[in-house]
């Protein structure tokens, strides 16, 4: 019901929305909960376990009951709290966890079974037969209990992640936060003021009290104007700080579009912020706590502060005859505010000496012991002394006092401190480095004290930043705090709820204690108290108190459970914004990428690079035809491949040669200028790290190439050596991978092709195998290496990357005129397999130089990384050694990943003698060929073993042979 003349909603702007298909009207400024209450809808949800009817219990983000699904289809968002969702034109909300309808829910049957469904019931009930849990019981329970569901469709909206930096982060824009922000801003610091609500004021928005002679919300709005005028403050409304992390970092979720009827297309739905602050002021206020009494969960029963919020902020009351149940003076304000607008209100106060503070009925020294009403409250029963009396009412406000909102102070493993005077946990000093709490979050209850504390804490923060804060006058405000006598639960017959969302009652907590789940963390997990989407904001302290009572300990000894981020649920879409699809990883393209794409090449990923797999042609039926054709280009004419993805590291300086001698197992100081050498690199633990060729360009100048996959690792390795192990060496290293486009020109006609575009002589005398020569290609200064990964006469030409695309087109068209063409990774792989050259398929991190048959490459004349470890007994005896394999039946398909067994032995793990690392079909040899590792394999050339792949159900008899299948003498490469 709407109350005339009350609230801060804009009555000139009606807003239409729907709930469960019914159309309603509210006003601009309403939440879904306030607008529904204004329309006399109190039943808004069903509880998780017993499917009990529920209405709003709070007026803020602590809400346990009114979870709804907003929107339809791919845009639907489940488990939205109606108490924080702002309404907009066309908003469509649906209730959850009820079937067939919210008013008549079949599974409310669970409620009648509640005597059997107490804490831990499924551990006890569904134990037998064993296999039934996974297949029957769990799916049934999951179906019966639940919250809203995701659509399962990709979200059509986008969210963002962003970073913000400030000197002072103020969390909460209530009186303390506003005062702190203004103080910090006036001192000249850069301030971020983050607040959950759409407008500033915090608790002042819900109260009738004045600050500086003005209504609270107006004072707050004026403060915001002052803050903006300083030019130092970034005010972030609708932004909940969700977590505290190391080094003054905070996570925050900003709801950007969820309150808009037609958000602009470019507006993200949510933004997840990482805020980095030098100092942080926690002004998160306090949460009112209820009292547990029998049947305290009916729609119409809510916190006394929520009643005041609905009345004062939205001009709404949930009934005409209202009762209050309290143990403190502060809650009496609700009765005052209600009677001021002419509503009937009765206060039932557990304190026998309670005094009425206005014109309302007070029943002191009494407790509520029962309530009535199936889908909404219709009456209560209270006990005063030995008498039990009934009373009709349609709303009941409850207050058990206030609890400082300490959550963020506990995210860094801190625990709050029990304050016996306040009967509440307060923040522990320095629990989060650089963060200090103020106001109600510190347990201060009067507005004036809150304002002063906001200023004090801000002054301190500013001083630690070596600035001076001006002393601002403390505004006039209420100084009273009132009295409270703790009351956690009423001792009477009937179910009394603690955790409304997860249906945990006082009986469940007592049962946990009785069954020896007496530690608070055990109790939480046994009963699921505080494990719902609200994280027990309204129930945790109560549950602790009940557990403390049941175990005969005090509350401080019982302690709290662990507070963890996030403070409110955060959509994964926001946390992971930008990290899906193409945004998941950057893509690196070579200069020939577009040309390869135009030729229809499928790409394979190599690290972040994309490389062409093969180049299909019309009429091809399988990729193999393309691959065989491309191998043929290289063996018979000339092939072109982009090899720019290989790492290129430029090494210069007087100690460049020393560095290479130390990094590689073999020697590079003796390499003549204009020569290239193959090098093998170990990790310090003796295993092979990488391999590649290095050319000497000058006396103090080398260019190293690495494999595509290990380029980053090798660069880091070199930086480690030069900075950490050999800091005195004068040598500079830099990655030039992207500076040069590099192409392989391989095949018997490679020299023919190049001699047309290179001015310098490149015959075998001028540029022999493993030679390097600076050349001018079409007049462009370029680098020509005579190296080969295919065993054919071959060159690699490097040009500045900006010429890469043009050169690639030129090379390919020239190769095509010579009967060759471009080849992809599949052909490149077959070509290297035919020669027995290794890649990271072989050097998988467990392989030594000796395993590869390259032990002699470890120079005896010098030290190198990994040398000592490579010679240890564990790496030199009883090893798997590199071998070649070919099936006895040459055309029988074999696969990498298969295992090797002796012929006629059982195929069990302990009999495994080796494995296969690379396989390809060699069109040159008209046979499948493979590389692999076999125990003592080098001594067994010519023998046969069984190749077996359990996964692909493949078995073949294969012959062991040397790794080089084709031209083992290497005559072709020297032509």
């Amino acid at each position: 019901m709407r109350v005339e003349g009350k609230g801060w909603v804009d009555r000139a702007r009606p807003v239409s929305f729907s709930f469960d298909g019914r159309a309603f009207t509210g006003f601009d400024g309403d939440t879904l909960a306030s607008a529904l209450l204004a329309n006399d809808v109190k039943l808004m949800g069903r509880s998780f376990k017993y499917h009990r009817p529920r209405g709003p219990f709070t007026a803020d983000s602590a809400e346990p009951n009114t979870l709804m699904t907003i929107g339809r289809g791919a845009r639907q968002v489940p488990n939205v709290r109606a108490t924080t969702q702002e309404i907009y034109d066309g908003l469509k909300a649906r209730s959850q966890n009820a079937w067939p309808s919210l008013h008549w829910d079949v599974l409310a049957l669970n409620d009648f079974l509640s005597p059997f469904l107490g804490a831990g019931f499924y551990y006890k009930t569904f134990m037998w037969p064993k296999g039934f849990w996974e297949k029957l019981y769990e799916p049934l329970i999951r179906h019966a209990a639940g919250l809203g569901a995701l659509s399962g469709l990709p979200s059509p909206d986008h969210s963002e992640r962003a970073y913000a930096h400030c000197d002072v982060l103020v969390i909460g824009a209530g009186p303390a936060g506003l005062m702190a922000a203004l103080t910090a801003a006036e001192a000249g610091t850069r301030v971020i003021l983050a607040d959950e609500a759409p407008r500033p004021g915090g608790r002042l928005l819900s109260e009738t009290e004045e600050v500086d002679g003005r209504a609270g919300p107006l004072w707050a709005a004026a403060m915001l104007d002052k803050l903006k005028a300083t030019g130092q403050v970034r005010y972030m409304p609708r932004t909940t700080v969700t977590g505290a992390y190391d080094s003054g970092t905070f996570g925050a979720v900003e709801r950007i579009a969820d309150h808009l009827s037609a958000p602009p297309k470019d507006l993200p739905r949510n933004c997840f912020w990482r805020i980095s602050a030098k100092r942080t002021i926690l002004a998160t206020g306090a949460l009112e706590r209820p009292i547990a009494f029998p049947w305290n969960d009916r729609p119409g029963i809510m916190l006394a502060s929520a009643l005041r919020s609905y009345l004062n902020r939205w001009g709404v009351v949930p009934g005409k005859r209202i009762a209050l149940f309290t143990n403190n003076d502060a809650a009496h304000q609700t009765a005052i505010d209600l009677s001021d607008v002419g509503l009937d209100c009765t206060v039932i106060d557990s304190r026998s000496d309670a005094q009425a503070q206005g014109e309302y009925r007070l029943i002191a020294g009494a407790e509520v012991v029962d309530t009535r009403g199936r889908l909404g409250l219709s009456g209560i029963t209270y006990r005063r002394g030995s008498r039990t009396l009934m009373m009709d009412c349609d709303a009941l406000g409850v207050s058990g006092g206030w609890t400082p909102n300490v959550s963020l102070t506990c995210h860094m493993n801190g625990r709050p401190t029990w304050d016996p005077d306040l009967s509440a946990f307060v923040p522990t000093k320095n629990a989060v480095s650089g963060l200090e709490a103020c106001g109600a979050a510190m347990g201060l209850w009067s507005t004036r004290a809150v304002l002063r504390s906001g200023q004090d804490v801000a002054c301190k923060a500013v001083e630690t930043l070596n600035l001076k804060a001006p002393k601002l006058p403390i505004p006039n405000a209420a100084e009273t705090t009132g009295d409270m006598i703790p009351l956690w639960s009423v001792n009477a017959k009937g179910r009394a709820w603690l955790d409304l969302q997860n249906d945990v009652t006082t009986k469940d907590v007592r049962l946990a204690a009785q069954e020896n789940y007496a530690s608070v963390e055990h109790m939480k997990r046994y009963t699921t108290q505080g494990m719902a989407t609200d994280q027990g904001k309204s129930s945790n302290v109560l549950a602790l108190a009940v557990l403390a009572d049941a175990t005969g300990r005090g509350i401080p000894e019982t302690g709290t459970t662990t507070f963890r981020p996030p403070y409110v649920p955060v959509p994964i879409e926001a946390i992971g914004a930008g990290a899906s699809g193409k945004g998941f990883a950057p893509e690196r393209f070579t200069t020939s990428h577009n040309a390869c794409k135009a030729r229809g090449a499928p790409f394979i990923e190599a690290g972040l690079w994309y490389r062409p797999s093969y180049f299909p042609r019309d009429g091809d039926t399988t990729w193999r035809e393309a691959c065989d054709r491309e191998v043929g280009y290289v063996r018979n004419a000339v092939g072109i491949a982009d090899v720019s993805t290989l790492g290129k590291i430029d090494i210069q300086g007087p100690d460049a040669a020393k560095l290479l001698d130390f990094v590689y197992t073999n020697t590079f100081s003796t390499l003549p200028i204009g020569k290239v050498r193959y090098g093998l690199m170990l990790r310090e633990d003796g295993h092979v790290m990488d391999d590649g060729t290095t050319a000497r360009l000058g006396p103090q100048h080398y260019v190293m190439t690495t494999t595509t996959a290990a380029a980053g690792d090798v660069m880091r390795h070199l930086e480690f050596i030069t900075q950490c192990l050999r800091p005195a060496w004068d040598v500079q290293i830099i990655s030039v991978t992207e500076a040069w486009a590099q192409f392989a020109i391989a095949g018997p006609k490679a020299r023919d092709l190049l001699s047309h575009i290179i001015a310098e002589p490149i015959d075998t005398q001028a540029l022999p195998f493993m030679g390097y020569q600076p050349v001018r290609l079409h007049g462009i200064p370029s680098r020509l290496f005579r190296i080969s990964f295919s065993g054919e006469l071959a060159y690699e030409i490097a040009v500045p990357a900006r010429y890469g695309a043009a050169l690639f087109d030129d090379l390919v068209s020239r190769a095509e005129t010579l009967g060759g063409g471009v080849y992809g990774m599949e052909a490149l792989n077959v070509l290297r397999l035919e020669k027995g050259f290794i890649t990271h398929a072989e050097i998988d991190g467990r392989i030594t130089a000796q395993d590869l048959g390259l032990a002699r490459m470890i120079s005896a004349k010098k030290d190198c990384i990994g040398k000592d470890a490579a010679l240890r007994p564990g790496l030199t005896k009883d090893r798997f050694e590199l071998i070649g394999l070919k099936p006895v039946n040459a055309l029988q398909k074999i696969d990498a990943g298969a295992h090797l067994f002796e012929l006629n032995t059982p195929h069990i793990n302990s009999n495994q003698k080796g494995y296969v690392t690379s396989v390809g079909y060699s069109p040159t040899l008209r046979s499948y060929i493979a590389l692999g590792f076999l125990k003592e394999g080098r001594n067994r050339h010519g023998a046969h073993v069984t190749l077996l792949d359990h996964m692909r159900n493949m078995q073949a008899e294969v012959e062991i042979c040397p790794p080089a299948f084709f031209d083992p003498e290497g005559t072709r490469v020297r032509r």
Binding site: Y245, D246, S247, T249, S276, M412, S433, E684, D685, R716, E719, F720, Q723, C724, L725, P727, A728, D863, K867, D868, A869, R872
Partner: protein
């Protein structure tokens, strides 16, 4: 978590590569007993408290750092250029 790179200032954790204990600075002499190599390569303290670790500002200036931090409080006590630390050690 942010690390104070001596060259770049305080930078986010994600800019750094973590290697491990600063023991890696103390490479045994060539031909040292196998036990020394075992200690260098494999044996590590796992203290609840202050550790010395090697991090590289990989997505920044490329400098290797010796970072002293407390594994209990997450406090970063100091970060020095590994090149300086290694030079000082001779």
């Amino acid at each position: 978590m942010r690390l104070p790179c001596p060259l770049c200032g305080a930078r986010d954790l994600r800019e750094f590569y973590y290697l491990g204990s600063a023991v890696y600075l103390e490479r045994p002499e060539p031909g040292a007993p196998i036990e020394d190599w075992d200690r260098y390569l494999h044996l590590r303290e796992n203290p609840a408290g202050i550790t010395r670790e090697l991090w590289q500002h990989q997505a920044g200036c490329g400098a290797w750092l010796v970072v002293e931090r407390d594994t209990v409080t997450h406090e970063i006590i100091a970060a020095r250029l590994a090149q300086e630390v290694a030079s000082d050690a001779g």
